[in-house]
Each structure stands twice: as C-alpha cells, then as structure tokens.
C-alpha cells in the first residue's frame, strides 16, 4: 500500500470510526468487545483496500463486522474471554418495576445470543429490510425472520410486564 492509499485509508477510518463504533457497541454491548470487533473488521479490510477504495469500503467493513459478530470462531473467543474474566454477567432487570422500561430492555438485550442481537440491531437500528439483513449476514430471509421472531419472543419472555407498563404510561 503506497502513501496515497494509506492516507485515504486513514481519512476513511478517522471520519467513519464514530458511526462504526456505535454499531460495534450495539452488536457487542461492551466497550472492549466493540473495539476488538472494529479492529478485527478493519484488519480484514486493509488488504482489500486497494480494490475497495473506489467502491464502498464502509459497506464492506460493516458486513465484515456483522459476519464477524455471528461467526463461530469469534464465539469461541468470547467463551474463552468469559471463562477468563467472567465479565459477561447476567444483568437483572430494574427492581423498581416499570419506572425505567428502557433500562430493563437494555439489560434484556444483553442476554440475547449474538446472532439474535445482530439481527435486531440491523432491523431496528440500521433499519434494513429482511432481504438486506440476509445479504449482510450471508443467510436466507427465512433465517432472518426466524431469528427476529425468536429474539423478540425472548425479549417478551424476559420482560413480561413491559407492555403493561407501556400502557400505564
């Protein structure tokens, strides 16, 4: 990679890091895991930068992040980290009841498996269609639908009183 390419890459990283880190943080739910995911995706993008610089490097980088998040190898690494640090402890819902529904929802989101959480982020934060999510994750639309359904069902199961609290408000 020559100097010009590296300068373009540095500009791209500097300008797009905040947005991409937000997505990485939503995907992982942890600051360090988000940095790790972003750097890992960036390391996979660097060797292809020459071909991507005139195309859509951000789309490529996002796709790498999404797929990396649900990949089997990364899940193994996460298990190792969990075994070492025990940092991914289950967060209990707010005991104060429905006073802070979003906090309870945030805690419930942490309990979702990476694949279901990723689908939710892509559907409800990135506002992608089911077809776009399927293309980004490299799976079928049916898989996206089933994962979304399972994720929402799990959240409803974890937060049985949320809809009642929403009505009361």
């Amino acid at each position: 990679m020559d100097e010009d390419d590296r300068a373009r890459l540095a500009d791209f990283v500097t300008s797009r890091t905040p947005a991409l880190m937000r997505v990485a943080y939503l995907l992982t739910g942890d600051r360090h895991a988000a940095e790790d995911l972003f750097q890992s995706a960036l390391a996979r993008t660097i060797p292809r930068w020459r071909a991507l610089r005139h195309a859509d490097p951000e789309g490529y980088l996002r796709t790498v992040m999404y797929r990396e998040q649900v990949s089997w190898w990364r899940r193994l690494g996460r298990r190792r980290e969990t075994a070492l640090t025990g940092a991914d402890e289950a967060v209990q819902p707010d005991p104060s009841g429905g006073t802070d529904v979003r906090l309870a929802m945030r805690a419930a989101l942490r309990l979702l498996p990476p694949a279901q959480r990723t689908v939710l982020v892509l559907r409800y934060y990135e506002d992608l269609t089911e077809t776009q999510v399927a293309e980004a994750l490299g799976c079928t639309v049916g898989t996206v639908r089933s994962r979304t359904h399972r994720a929402v069902s799990r959240l409803r199961q974890l937060l049985p009183d949320v809809e009642l609290l929403e009505v009361r408000r």
């Binding site: 939503l26 988000a34 750097q39 060797p47 929802m105 989101l109 934060y125 929403e166």
Partner: protein, 163 residues
C-alpha cells in the same frame, strides 16, 4: 406498522448507541493486527506444506518403489506332466510322502543287488527301476520318455496354474 414493543427496542438501541465509547486512532492497532494475521497465515501455510510433504513422501516412495524387480521365484519348466496330470492344490498331491519314497541313499557297497537309483550310472540299468510310488498306486507323474535308466524326476512341489 410497528408495535409499541418494537418501538421500545428501537428507542433502547438508539440510547445505547449514544453511549458508544469514543475511541481515537484505530488504524494503527488494526494494521498491527493485519500484519500478525498475515504472518500467522504464512506460517500456517508453510507448516501445512511441510506436514503434507512429511506425510506424502513415504507414501509416494512406497507407491513408486515397486520398480525394482521382484525376487526370482523358481518356476517349474514345462513338462509333459503338466498336460496330463497337473498338480493342483485341489487335486491329489503329487508330492509323495517321505515314507513312500524309496531311500535315495546309496546302498552299501556290499549289496550290489539292491536297487539304487542314484548310485547306478545313467543309461545303464542294472536292476529294477525304483518307483517313488508304491506298487499298484497310480503315479501322478508318468515317467518321461527318457532313458529308462535315468531316475524319474521328482514331481515339482509348486502347483502350476490350470490355465
């Protein structure tokens, strides 16, 4: 159309995204990671090639080492006996038992009348021909049309193929 529950998910994700950490230079560690990754790939590739050579070389040598001639196996010369009574493992064995064979040990010199197939000179039969088989028993190998004084060749112990 979205349900209130889905709106809640959206709102929560937006809140979470606002709390994302602000990081500085991510390019340098990513480049370091890329170099490590490339080094690992090259190392694993070289290790794979070495392993393939280590495993494949003995197999290739074993497969290609058959060019050396096989050790010579004694084969019976074609005899007329082959056409008449080929000994086969399924058929009667043509090897006479040691008890049936007359002793080929030369007789003591003091007994000239004793049959001695090996002691008598060829072509000069001076006594009854010794037969390897018992009298009356069918001989699987007929004697060739050679000189009557020559001792009969012992049947070959190696079975020959039928065809």
């Amino acid at each position: 159309m979205t349900t209130p529950f889905e709106d809640l998910i959206r709102a929560t994700l937006s809140d979470l995204a606002e709390e994302a950490p602000r990081v500085q230079d991510q390019l340098t560690p990513a480049e370091r990671r890329f170099r490590n990754r490339r080094r690992t790939t090259v190392t694993l590739g070289a290790a794979g090639v070495v392993a393939a050579v280590l495993i494949g070389a003995p197999i290739a040598l074993a497969a290609g080492g058959g060019e050396a001639p096989r050790p010579a196996a004694p084969s019976a010369p074609p005899t007329p006996a082959d056409t008449t009574a080929p000994p086969s493992p399924a058929g009667p064995t043509a090897v006479p038992s040691p008890t049936d064979l007359p002793t080929a040990v030369p007789s003591p010199p003091g007994d000239p009348t004793a049959p001695s197939p090996s002691a008598s000179p060829p072509g000069l039969p001076d006594g009854p021909l010794p037969s390897p088989s018992r009298p009356g028993a069918p001989s699987p190998v007929p004697s060739p049309s050679g000189d009557p004084g020559e001792p009969e060749p012992l049947p070959t112990p190696y079975p020959t193929p039928r065809d």
